[in-house]
Point group: C2
Chain length 202, copies 2
């Protein structure tokens, strides 16, 4: 896996990028390669490898945001729907979407196998998924894409599983639309004073 971006630069440069287009940035094979790399190397509790990922490109990407738009149409008051439609259109304008799942059959298997940790496995599964979401987000942006992290789960879960015939045990946790950036991220992101967040005790 070649890319000269250093680790700290990648961390620092990752932002939520909402303006994205369908213009290709890297090949579909390269997209798959960076997703595979992250899924392989990001850790999971007891090396349980609970993460599952679906990369939606082309018509499948469009289909996801059509599903989400239709779902929200049944829920958002009509006079407030314009801004929702605009948001859906902005995600649909991108090149693809990464869907993040956890295979709950594995999580439940660990709970049955190790009852004294039963409460922990779902918590660790969420933390591990966060690690993976973040790694793919940072990787996509290091490669020149813009991306953001969306959460229309659980509203769209059933239709997503039915549409793409995914196992019922896969639990949807996040959706990451990505594409060629068309706008800069907000330059005024606010940061709390670091000394309120980190303590060093020697």
């Amino acid at each position: 896996m070649t890319l000269t971006t250093t680790f700290y630069d990648a961390i620092e440069n990752r932002r939520s990028i909402y303006g994205i287009s369908k213009e290709p940035v890297i090949s579909d094979e390269r997209i798959q390669e960076i997703v595979n790399h992250a899924v392989k190397y990001v850790p999971s509790a007891f090396n349980s490898q609970t993460a599952r990922v679906v990369i939606l490109l082309g018509d499948n990407h469009t289909k996801l945001w059509d599903i989400t738009t239709q779902t929200l149409k049944g829920m958002v008051p009509e006079d407030q729907f314009a801004s929702t439609q605009e948001k859906m259109d902005s995600f649909n304008a991108g090149y693809g979407t990464v869907l993040f799942f956890e295979d709950m059959s594995i999580v439940e298997g660990l709970q049955a196998q190790f009852p004294s940790y039963a409460d922990n496995f779902p918590v660790w599964s969420l933390q591990s998924s966060g690690m993976l979401q973040y790694t793919i987000w940072t990787a996509l942006e290091s490669e020149g894409f813009g991306a953001s992290l969306q959460h229309y789960n659980p509203l769209i879960d059933e239709e997503v599983k039915t549409t793409w015939n995914l196992p019922t045990s896969w639990k949807l946790l996040a959706q990451m639309p990505f594409g060629k950036p068309t706008v800069e991220p907000n330059p005024n992101k606010e940061f709390e004073p670091i000394e309120d967040r980190v303590k060093v005790l020697k």
Copy 2:
């Protein structure tokens, strides 16, 4: 923040490293710098910046593993305690420990402010903490340390908060002992077939 390790190499090289020593690898100021960098740049839902981190060095690092050892002594059967003691000693043998917390007063504030997302904020808080744990783990190992992720919470929570006078709203999620590596990671980590975990739909 300078370090030439590329992003993908850092991802690939991060492992659980259990054999660690107290020999210094980088300065304490540099440790704090890489933790601060991660805490600043790792994202959180609604930019809520819920993560809190405590870096324990020197006697404070030793104190943490003494607390954990004493807590487990009251729970693990006496004839099985030797292996627990050995594990505690291996963490204590390291240079320091990073404690990861989430400030639940912020999470609860968001739940009150946005009731329709109330169930999501604790889930997103866990995912964001996972992102941060992973970033600091990867950074520490990129700098030459070995580290692993431990979970003696909630057993040790009360004594940790009392000992270091931490806010009651800080919820402990993970402990990361680190030090100079003294053994190689397990060379035989097993990986599930990637095609069972990632699907590409064009």
